[in-house]
Symmetry: none
Amino acid sequence: MSDLKLKKKEHILDIAAKEFADKGYDNSNINEIATLSGIGKGSIYLYFKTKKDLYLATMEKVVEKINESSEEIETNDGPLLEKLKMVIESLFKLEEESLPYIILWSRYQFQNHPDFPDEVFPIFEKLKQPLCDIIEEGVKKKIFYTSHPTESAYLILSMVVLLLPSIQPKPFLGELNSDEKIEYILNFIKNGLTYCKDQE
Amino acid sequence: MSDLKLKKKEHILDIAAKEFADKGYDNSNINEIATLSGIGKGSIYLYFKTKKDLYLATMEKVVEKINESSEEIETNDGPLLEKLKMVIESLFKLEEESLPYIILWSRYQFQNHPDFPDEVFPIFEKLKQPLCDIIEEGVKKKIFYTSHPTESAYLILSMVVLLLPSIQPKPFLGELNSDEKIEYILNFIKNGLTYCKDQE
Amino acid sequence: MSDLKLKKKEHILDIAAKEFADKGYDNSNINEIATLSGIGKGSIYLYFKTKKDLYLATMEKVVEKINESSEEIETNDGPLLEKLKMVIESLFKLEEESLPYIILWSRYQFQNHPDFPDEVFPIFEKLKQPLCDIIEEGVKKKIFYTSHPTESAYLILSMVVLLLPSIQPKPFLGELNSDEKIEYILNFIKNGLTYCKDQE
Amino acid sequence: MSDLKLKKKEHILDIAAKEFADKGYDNSNINEIATLSGIGKGSIYLYFKTKKDLYLATMEKVVEKINESSEEIETNDGPLLEKLKMVIESLFKLEEESLPYIILWSRYQFQNHPDFPDEVFPIFEKLKQPLCDIIEEGVKKKIFYTSHPTESAYLILSMVVLLLPSIQPKPFLGELNSDEKIEYILNFIKNGLTYCKDQE
DNA sequence: AATGAATGAGGTTTCATTCAT
DNA sequence: GATGAATGAAACCTCATTCAT
């Protein structure tokens, strides 16, 4: 595929991601995606065989984007809490740049019945989970304490996602800025995971 | 509306809730809901003006169910950690009895763009959040420590929901039984919220 | 299925048969078939799952119609040439009553690549071929002579079909009326099949 | 048009004929014809104004091919039955060399509603019918007897076409080789057309 | 000259909703 | 009251044709 074609494909993907993130798969409309992409209805099909294919391609890109943003963390060798902070920050940063993709991801994470699970699950198996590694390492090094590191990592991830500004449409959450949120999450985690005896 | 009619309406709602929970709004089919309800397709419209109306009615029932299950907790006067445990247990219990409703609720909680937000948000404003009260009380009594009680309550709620057996289709979580999960969540919360000084 | 529904289904089939016979499968239009049937586009799908299904149903009816028309012949016990005449006459008669069906049949017979061969071949296996029986009997009784009775039957059938008034749109054929044609075919067959030694 | 261009045009025609013969007009695809022809999709339109034009051009070539193959017969002066045999043989031979064209021709002959009849009928008016001449001559010379020479010629032609190996997809016909078929047809014709009095 | 990316008309099919029975 | 046959808007997708390069 030529460079130009690849660029257009990416452009369509970005538009489609936004549509899917906004309205979900069923309520998104190929015709509208085409129009918003600045191309004709039929042209979508030059790049993606079906609407479902287009959707799955956006899902691939979700994984790609998130994996990219965790790359830096893996190679870093600082203290664990620092790495933890980087994970959270990278997600907040990613949100600013690639909102639709992170929305799609959160939908996948927290929607018990994703569209096309048979095709989507394998895609998400390639998703890197740096949090797991960090927490497992922390447990080994006796910096963290948790009887179920994987579950803890999943919960922490959820927390972060739930506090991403765009993911909380509920009137229910207070107005903290990003830094305050990151601080808050880190504190919650630190307490939740670190050794701590005296209670109530 | 006669008693019989009310009963039928509730029956339809239960069937519809299951369909909506299984397949989502768009992929649910009025005809199928009618058939499963044991009535004719046209008869649905004697009880609900449109499919959307039916959907909103199930959402109302979601709130109703969850509020019912928290009623007991509010009137209880035991220690706060006990009440916390009750909240979690009541959700696990509700899941067993009213799975579709709790699935619908979790979808609403974690899907940033619910179907018909304009109508759905007001419905969920009536949702009681006993967790908030408990945590706020705990903070006042200096049993819990958190700078943002509302956020904390929301996060804890999320944790619980995310660990409900039917809500986690991901292969990613370990195999804990309900009691172990409740225990685990409580520990995480206790650590995350209670006074705790020495770290790393 | 209720009686009324069956009647409507037959009505749609008749309209569809005419369309398919006139334009072929691809150029026929569900919307138009519906309109001509006096019903809405979507209503076709109450009776037939897909356009292909509708087509196959017309093919079934083709076989049905032709088999009906040969029933009388099978039970008849007259002389073989009389039976031969009946076969031909029944086809000419069928043409008057059920033109589209006989056109569809001729399309199938002489179109080497029918639409949906995998489904259509089995349907036509149920087609009765009284000609074969008649000719085979004639060969046994030494009334007819042919080294290949099946091929001969097929050829005779083809002749008949090709001389059906509606099957010859070619300007190329002379203008004979039906009786003359039947007479002519019979003569051709008699000569072609019966014992005859002296030639050229 | 340059020589090279003419050659390419013929090449495209051959490919198109194969496609049209295999799949019919509607199911053939300009893009595929182009690819198989080794040229770009758009280039087809340098040679043929529309898909319909391409189709009509293949039909012209059908007539051309068949006329070519009958040329030899016309100029030959042997006995009539010899000429008759040549007609049949030439068709069997043509089939081996130009299968798609002969398939297209048989479709035209036996499909009462060809695509684009208004344009196709005039094309086929140029088709030479040596059989007609032969039979008319035979009738005059009292070698053949038939009250309707044109019809007879048409029927004989049909027989031949129906027995062409590639034209009979029906499981219904026995397995004769080409020579046996030719022999069989000739016998049928001889009997069907020659003087013969005593019957049944 | 040759290409193939782009287009959009047109076709099939689904399904919420209506309404005559 | 209860029904389900009927409807038609709306969505996906194909493919002949155009046209800028």
